[in-house]
């Protein structure tokens, strides 16, 4: 179409571009073929179709599922759908996208939603229901949730009396990462009360260490690790009932309970004797990304790092995450050894279609069969599904998290900032927490967040 197609430069450019494309295209075909054959071999050997007969024959039907879960965590998800696909004949189309949280709203509003979405926050479930495109979960799914989950979980996605989404995975946030070998060499013991944790930190200071390290940098979401710290402390300095009231704003955000909790966090994070091991002073917390916040444990320049179970994935390949390995975590203790509040988070499966195959797959995902299938396949994943056998969890940190979640004495509470209105939970709370780390006092911080709460 151009007048001088014989120009050597254009020809060279075209040739270069096309050959690069061909090389990658061939590489893609080769790679794809290998993956497929390997995975079907693995799953075909261990399939028992009995639990799937109730879903009937779904041959030729397709269910699309859209999530924010991308590589490498997506592979076990896709693998865990294989038994369902092989036994019912349905095919599941998985789409992972890191911009899920904004794109799902765009797609729901434009009328182009997926069949199912894995939504990581109850607040977002509410927004999706408000678009009018989400459909309520079928009775079978609700029955599974009643059977397998603590009843608190069902309330997170029950909106105006209708139940929208079964929980899927969960993560435990009340964990402190440490180095088992350091503890052994220095004779430290894992604390069982909050006072013991403080005593342990002081002992480490006396040994000439800076015990804690932290990082709260996370792009637009900078500050969220502090909100987790604070929620954990509200659960410990007050009690779970007060926590619920605080999250639902039936007591003010800046009341005495919250002030006590944030000051308790300050006792650790704003104490320049305690922080920031291996990274700098108190202010370096704000400039360190949360991914890097706990890495100094490996260098021995930091001893303790409070972060959720998913942090295991942050340690470089080859790090042994186990009770006798390079790093491990212990439960962030309660006020005394008898109370066990657990802060956590999780995902929910919300449907935008009520075709039989979508409902069948939704029900499958809420079952104990799926939870156990998934547990065997993945590492770095747990669920609060009571039908989950902790022995199926393959790696030690998952087993620890699973045990904490399924402990009947533990009181589970969902991450508060995920439930608060977006203006607070994913805006003011994060920003003011960052200000607080860089020097703002507790009262101003809490007053500013209270002011941001939508009337």
């Amino acid at each position: 179409m151009f007048g001088q197609p014989t120009s050597p430069r254009i020809r060279a450019a075209l040739a270069g571009t096309l050959s690069a494309g061909l090389v990658f295209g061939l590489a893609a075909c080769g790679g794809g073929g290998d993956d497929d054959s390997a995975s079907t071999d693995a799953s075909a050997s261990a399939i028992d179709c009995a639990p799937y007969t109730k879903f009937g024959d779904l041959k030729g039907k397709t269910v699309t599922i859209y999530t924010g879960i991308v590589t490498p965590e997506d592979t076990p998800h896709i693998e865990s759908y294989k038994p369902f696909e092989n036994c019912t004949g349905a095919s599941i189309k998985y789409e992972g996208d890191k911009s899920f949280e904004t794109q799902i709203l765009v797609r729901a509003r434009a009328g182009n939603p997926p069949d199912l979405a894995i939504v990581p926050q109850p607040g977002l479930v509410k927004q999706l229901v408000a678009t009018g495109k989400a459909v309520a979960a079928p009775a079978d799914t609700a029955a599974n949730v009643d059977k397998f989950w603590d009843k608190a979980w069902k309330t997170y996605t029950t909106i105006d009396g209708k139940f929208y989404g079964a929980p899927l995975g969960a993560s435990v946030k009340s964990l402190v990462w440490y180095s088992p070998s350091e503890f052994k060499d220095a004779g430290y013991t894992v604390p069982t009360t909050l006072d013991e944790l403080k005593a342990l930190s002081d002992k480490m200071v006396a040994d000439g260490k800076k015990p804690w390290c932290a990082g709260i940098g996370s792009g637009d979401a900078t500050g969220w690790p502090v909100t987790d710290w604070m929620e954990d402390m509200v659960l410990r300095t007050s009690d779970p009932d007060t926590y619920d009231k605080w999250v639902n704003h039936s007591i003010p955000f800046n009341g005495p309970e919250a002030t006590a909790a944030l000051d308790a966090v300050g006792g650790y994070l704003k104490n320049d004797k305690y922080v920031n091991g291996g990274l700098g002073d108190v202010k370096s917390i704000a400039t360190t990304t949360f991914q890097d916040g706990g890495l100094p444990i490996l260098d021995g320049t930091c001893s303790l790092h409070r972060q959720a179970s998913f942090y295991a994935a942050n340690f470089p390949k080859g790090t042994k995450v186990a009770e006798d390995g390079d790093v491990f975590a212990f439960y962030l203790p309660g006020k005394d050894a008898t109370t066990k509040p657990v802060l956590g988070a999780g995902e929910f499966v919300v449907a935008f279609a009520d075709r039989p195959e979508v409902q069948a797959f939704q029900t499958y995902l809420s079952s104990d069969v799926w939870a156990n299938t998934k547990a065997k396949l993945s590492s770095g994943w747990v669920s609060a599904n009571k039908g989950l056998d902790p022995n199926n969890l393959t790696n030690p940190i998952d087993k620890l998290a699973g045990t904490i979640l399924l402990d009947p004495k533990a009181t589970f509470r969902f991450d508060g900032s995920d439930q608060m209105p977006a203006a607070v939970g994913s805006d003011a709370f994060w920003k003011q927490s960052t200000q607080w780390i860089t020097g703002q006092d507790t009262a101003t911080t809490l007053n500013n967040i209270e002011k941001a709460w939508p009337k």
């Binding site: 179409m1 151009f2 007048g3 001088q4 430069r9 254009i10 060279a12 450019a13 270069g16 571009t17 690069a20 494309g21 990658f24 295209g25 590489a27 893609a28 790679g31 794809g32 993956d35 699309t64 859209y66 924010g68 879960i69 991308v70 590589t71 490498p72 965590e73 592979t75 189309k93 789409e95 992972g96 996208d97 890191k98 911009s99 794109q103 765009v106 797609r107 509003r109 434009a110 009328g111 182009n112 997926p114 996370s218 990304t289 991914q291 890097d292 890495l295 998913f310 994935a313 942050n314 470089p316 390949k317």
Partner: protein
Amino acid sequence: MTAATPVTTTPPLVADKPSASKIAKKRLSSPWASLAAIVLAVLWTLPTFGLLVSSFRPERAIKTTGWWSFFSNPTLTLDNYRGVFGEDGGVNLASFFVNSLIICIPSVLIPVSLAALAAYAFAWMNFPGKNILFLVIFALQIVPLQVTLIPLLEIFVNIQLTGTFWTLWLSHSTFALPLAIYLLHNFMREIPSGLIEAARVDGAGHVSIFFKVLLPLLTPALAAFGIFQFLWVWNDLLVALVFAGGGDEVAPITLQLANLSGTRGTAWQLLSAGAFVSIIVPVTVFLLLQRYFVRGLLAGSVKG
């Protein structure tokens, strides 16, 4: 006029008043200007160079130290490149690379061919409402593409195009057309009308004038616009995010690059290698066709 007069008077004139281009040449090639150009070039290239060095460093080194520490402790690895080609079960950029090419080529050809025809009509044909229509197209450049995302997606949903390449081809073409028509129109107006009239006298109709007279002259403008459009589409993330929804079959490389670091951003050592894979094509296109860039930059600036 005698021939001797200019010969005797012109040399001193040139010596006193050098032409503007000579002044510019002299000033631009002075040592200070060269120094400034070199400093700018180094500053501009340094981050890319750092990215290149980073892409060959081991994971732990990337996560703990800056790329410049490579020079005191050089360790090279191809692990990051293996990682972006799906060696450890992660993303394989190769298939998305092909998707990007499939998206880019029609997204360049459609607006270029439509805009060339439209520009011809606006430049050399008379029809009622021509000026108003041209003004409207010109004004469309002001509409930010973000405001059109949801309405456009609604249209695609209604005509059941979602999950296909058509959504991307059509939306990229739509967003490119106003500027393309405006640029090519200005370029066509610069062509002397005598040329068109001569063709008409020889019995050429609009079709043969367009293909036989104008198209050969338009090549630099078409090529320049094509390059710009190609780079824009190749590097686009926003349009792809919104319209490529529907699975990996239609996702371009930029979308996977955004997902490369993993659900919680833990695998960001792969980003530098991924970035280098994705810039192969733009860099190739730029290096081989760079002479068209300057012409392209000038094409729209001259009054038509």
